[in-house]
């Protein structure tokens, strides 16, 4: 491997000091960017041979510090492992290298009338390796499910550079344990995925998008409940609250949502075209019944983009209002959404923080966004305390501390809210089965053992 692909110069290492969660920073010893599986194996063998930990890295868009360098580690980046190795429309499969960007696979699949369903909002940047490691979701996962449903096989590089083939689309579940399912979501702690076999689906025949405007989040949430009770299964059900709407409308991304609204609900149906208008009519009725002040819907691609605009750009727009933005992530049973949201806003108010909510309402996956200024030590402390309380509220409602962004380093401190010591010990032992020497992303995901 040439020197171009080994980064050790402190100035060039800067960009690798953090992932999308920028409040954590740590310089690695070096960054290596292998271009083939053989080079990757060589690198892991050499680095582990010295007893030095390896931190896998995709695009670094993770929001929990998963790709944050561990002190004294070598970061192994997959940026050059970016080839689509095979696209097999006959079996609706693709085999890709881990550095392939999510949306690029989508573009290639479309040529064959197919698509790759999981669509994280970061899809134009994040990699499939990162998606596998985080078991990422996206707005359309309500109907289609998250990443793990679409990963049928993996080639992984384990400690010391051993290469193991896991699963495969033709694998019979009767022949052994589901190691692919276990590897997905392992946050870079088990090994590095160097080839990924994914399932593709045919493109839906038609799409309808609906935007409902409501006076309050509670009303929007009631509309969601109504839609589910009707037995409808939309592809997406997304809510943004008034604070988020105003942030977007004040930004360059203005989407034309009314700034005095309490909430906006985006509903999308896809599938066989003949059934969609009826679905939309029923969803519109649910919105009106829940008190929607305005409902628009469309089957036009351009209009669709416009209706989604506010939802898609909320994150970027908010990033511009305050110096720092913390995107929280938790899941609750959907029926508990209204009360949980109310409590989250109350926590924000109590700590005098600016909180806005954009969330995957269909799956009960919340993303409270907290705007703050890191240089204000007092505010930073309030953000910490408020975050913990928000997590507690979600857990008390029967939910969990992360639905799609992972634990990384950011949520280790909350792991005991949802797991007992036995469960944590079992996870740790399972990690040890893959990585006995603890040289992949050590110190992530699992909290320090309780002091005896």
């Amino acid at each position: 491997m040439g020197p171009d692909h080994v980064v050790a110069d402190p100035a060039r290492l800067l960009v690798y000091e953090s992932d999308g969660l920028t409040q954590y920073r740590q310089a690695p010893l070096a960054v290596v960017l292998p271009g083939t599986t053989d080079e990757l194996v060589e690198v892991v063998r050499a680095v582990h041979g010295e007893g030095i930990p390896v931190v896998p890295r995709g695009a670094g868009t993770g929001l929990s510090g998963g790709a944050l360098p561990v002190e004294g580690s070598v970061v192994v980046g997959t940026a050059r492992l970016n080839r689509i190795l095979a696209l097999d429309p006959e079996n609706r499969l693709a085999r890709v290298q881990p550095g392939v960007v999510n949306s690029r696979l989508g573009v290639e699949a479309r040529r064959h009338g197919l698509h790759y369903a999981p669509d994280p909002s970061s899809q134009s940047a994040c990699t499939l390796g990162g998606n596998v490691a985080e078991n990422s979701g996206g707005p359309h996962c309500l109907k289609y499910g998250v990443t793990s449903r679409y990963i049928s096989g993996l080639t992984v590089v384990l400690g010391g550079g051993a290469v193991v083939e896991l699963g495969g689309a033709a694998r019979d579940p009767a022949t052994g344990l589901d190691l692919v399912g276990l590897f997905v979501g392992s946050e870079g702690c088990f090994g590095i995925a160097t080839e990924i076999e994914v399932r593709l689906l045919p493109l839906p025949g038609g799409v309808r998008t609906l935007l409902g405007i409501f006076a309050s989040v509670e009303d929007a949430a009631r509309a969601v409940t109504g839609i589910v009770a009707q037995g409808l299964l939309p592809a997406a059900l997304e809510i943004m609250d008034g604070a988020s709407i105003r942030a977007v409308e004040a930004s360059v991304y203005a989407a034309g949502y009314p700034t005095d609204a309490g909430a906006a609900l985006v509903v999308e149906f896809d599938g066989t075209d003949a059934g969609l208008d009826e679905d939309v009519a029923r969803a519109v009725a649910c919105c009106r019944e829940a008190g929607a002040t305005d409902v628009q819907h469309t089957d036009d691609e351009g209009q669709r983009t416009r209706l989604w605009q506010g939802r898609k750009k909320a994150f970027g727009a908010m990033g511009r209002i305050a110096p720092d933005l913390l995107v929280q992530d938790a899941t609750v049973p959907r029926t508990r959404l209204p009360e949980v949201l109310e409590e989250i806003m109350a926590i924000g108010a109590r700590y005098d923080l600016h909180v806005a909510n954009v969330f995957h309402a269909g799956d009960g996956n919340l993303h409270p966004k907290i705007l703050f200024d890191r240089s204000d030590a007092d505010e930073l402390a309030r953000v910490e305390r408020a975050s913990r309380e928000m997590m507690q509220v979600c857990v008390d409602a029967g939910g969990t501390i992360t639905g799609e962004h992972g634990v990384g380093v950011d949520k280790q401190k909350y792991m005991r809210l949802v797991h007992g010591e036995e469960e944590l010990a079992a996870m740790s032992a399972v990690g040890g089965a893959f990585d006995p020497r603890g040289l992949f992303n050590p110190g992530k995901v699992l909290p320090e053992p309780e002091p005896a």
């Binding site: 083939e165 019979d172 589901d178 979501g185 025949g205 009770a229 049973p333 995957h360």
Partner: protein, 413 residues
Amino acid sequence: MRSAPETEGVVAPGRILARAHRVLRPRTPEEVAEVLAGARAEGLGVVVMGGGRGLPPLAPERPFLVLSTAALSGVDVYEPGDLTFTAGAGTTLGDLEDRLGTEGQWLPLDPPGGRERTLGGVVASGLGGPLQAGFGAIRDQVLGVTVVTGDGRILRLGGRVMKNVAGFDLVRLFVGSAGRLGVVVSASLRVFPRPRARRVLLLEGAADGLPREELLQAARAVSTAPVVPAAAVLLRRPAEEVLVVRLTGSEPVLDADQARLEDAVGHAFRTAVHPERWMQRMAGRIGDDRAFGVRQRGLPASLPERWTAWVTAAPAATLHVDVLGGLLRAHLPPDAVDETMLRRLRGMARGDSAPVLFDSVPEGREELLERRRWGMPVGGAGSGGADGTTVLERRLQEVFDPHGTLAPTEYAR
């Protein structure tokens, strides 16, 4: 790589009970742990049994007791608005179907074998039937499980929310673990709104239908068509070959999907008059003591080639192929299987990637099958990868069942 055939300890599912030292029915996770500890103290292995409808046919060689989940039954929580429920492992799919039906919901699973199958058995076997093509595999519907590990730890894994990435995904590990790591005592799953309508479409081959070549092409066309049906299966009895496609949705959707499929296939389907009967046949036949049952997975595109190979090798076989999922199942009458036939069937295996598994064995014919212990490399076209997988599986077994108390029944190869 193959060891000489051993006949000792070989029994078919119905006969496993007869060999058990006793059958215990714990009612709580704590009692499950007690059964496991007691068995270990006595030097007995433990076979975990749900409805007993899907037990692999080979009993363990060592003495064992059977832990039945029958008393771990009942729906604990059902939240129709959340599209989730939690129920005991021994709850039958029949009871679940009735309960969910009252709210217009269902579990889109159709493993073979009737309403007596248990939730725990389906979760633990990881096998859910052809409907998985349209609605996702069982592993994608399980949100959480409570398990008792082989060494008696009670673990609550996952939860009751749709998305959960709080730590490593041990739920996935237990789905399909088939009594090798622990006992599933309860499980939380997501459910679906029951489709407004359904339709079963038929395309016949054989005597009064399409030539085989065309029927196989039609089956392939279904699996590459722009519509994904709820399920599609190609069935064969010696005098009958038929492609069966199940659609779900509202009436206009069914009409449109049928038209698009017919377009892709190039033939008109016949609508089944008795859809229930066909849906049962789509689920397939459960293993019994009267036939040799064999399963082999493969990629969907290999269907025509595999179908032809199986028809040629075993003309007396009934065949059942999940057109979208790729699982082929064959049943042969006992008198059609002798040493030569057995060699031929085994010869259908493609190394590690497509082994042939015997999942049922007729009474008195066990001697024909050699024993293959789970966890051993399969041999054949084995890659280094398979060995690596074996090492990982062994380590995981040590994590959850360090004393080797669990003694899963096994498929024969």
